[in-house]
Amino acid sequence: MKSTRSKTRRLSLLTMLLAMSILLHMMEPSLPIPIPGVKLGLANIIGLITLYLFGIEEMFTVNIMRVLIASLLRGIIFGTGFWLSLSGVLLSSTMVIILRRYTKMSIIGLSVASATFHCLGQIAIICYLNSTWLMIYWLPIMWVTAVPTGILTGTLAFQVLKRLTKGVAL
C-alpha cells in the first residue's frame, strides 16, 4: 500500500514538473531578449531540479517529453524548431549527466554546462540542415551569453531545491 502511494506521489511530482517545464518552454519565446537567438533557458531549471530530486532517467524523460509536447502544442513538431530543441536537449542532458558523475561541479556550473552544450547541439543541427558550417560563427556569441543565463537558471534551480530539500547538500 505504501509502495503504491509512493509510486503515485512520484508520478504526480514528475507530471507537475513536466507541466511546469512545458509552460516555461512555451512562454519563453515571448520574453523580450535584445540578442537574436538567445534565450534564458528557463525550462532548464526544471530539468536540473528533476535531476537532483529524481535522477538521470527522469531528467531525460522530462526534457524529451517537454520538447515533444511543447512542439506539438505550438504546431512545430518535426519542423526545424523541433529538431533544434531536441538536439540541444539531448546533448545538454547527456553532458550534464557526464559532468555530474565525473566532476565536482555544483548545480550552477551544471546549468552553465547545460546552456553551453545546448547551444552547441543547436548550432550543429543548424549546420547540418543548412549544409553550411559557417553558422559556427554564431557559436562564440551564444557561448558568451550562455554563461550569465546558465548562472541565472542554476541559481534559480538551487534556490528552489534549497527550499524543497532542506539540509540536503547540492
Binding site: S106, G109, I136, P140, I141, W143, V144, A146, V147
Partner: protein
C-alpha cells in the same frame, strides 16, 4: 559556485574567444578584397575578369558573341545576340549578389566581391 564551476566557465569563455578569433582570421583570409567577375558558359568558367581594369571582353555564347564591358568596377553586357536582349538591358552591375544571366546564350556573369547589395537577400535556403 565552486572551483570546478569557475574552471568550466573560464574554459567556455576561452573556447568562445579562440573560436571567434579563428573564424575572424578565416573570413579575413578568404576574402582578399580583390574584385573579380567570373564568366561561365554552360556552367564552365570561360573567363575571369579583373574588375579594376576598364576594358571590353568577348566570349562566345550559344547564339553568338557576347561583348562584356567593365568600367569603374562595374560590369555589363554591352552587346549580344538574343531574342529580348534582357542581359544587356539589365545594365551596369557592381554587387556580388546580382548576377547577369544571359539564358539564350547560356552565359552567366558573377562578381566575386566583398561588397553586397544591402537591398537584396544574400542567400536563399530551400
Amino acid at each position: 559556485m565552486n572551483r570546478s564551476d569557475k574552471i568550466f566557465i573560464a574554459f567556455v569563455l576561452v573556447c568562445a574567444l579562440v573560436l571567434y578569433g579563428t573564424m575572424q582570421w578565416f573570413v579575413s583570409s578568404s576574402t582578399t578584397g580583390k574584385t573579380e567577375a567570373v564568366v561561365t558558359y554552360k556552367d564552365k568558367e570561360v573567363l575571369r575578369i579583373d574588375m579594376t581594369k576598364n576594358t571590353s571582353y568577348t566570349v562566345t555564347g550559344t547564339l553568338g558573341d557576347v561583348i562584356i564591358e567593365v568600367k569603374d568596377a562595374q560590369i555589363r553586357v554591352e552587346k549580344e545576340t538574343s531574342p529580348y536582349h534582357l542581359c544587356s538591358v539589365q545594365g551596369w552591375v557592381k554587387y556580388a549578389n546580382v548576377p547577369i544571366v544571359c539564358l539564350p546564350n547560356h552565359i552567366v556573369i558573377l562578381i566575386h566581391s566583398v561588397s553586397v547589395d544591402p537591398n537584396q537577400e544574400d542567400t536563399t535556403v530551400k
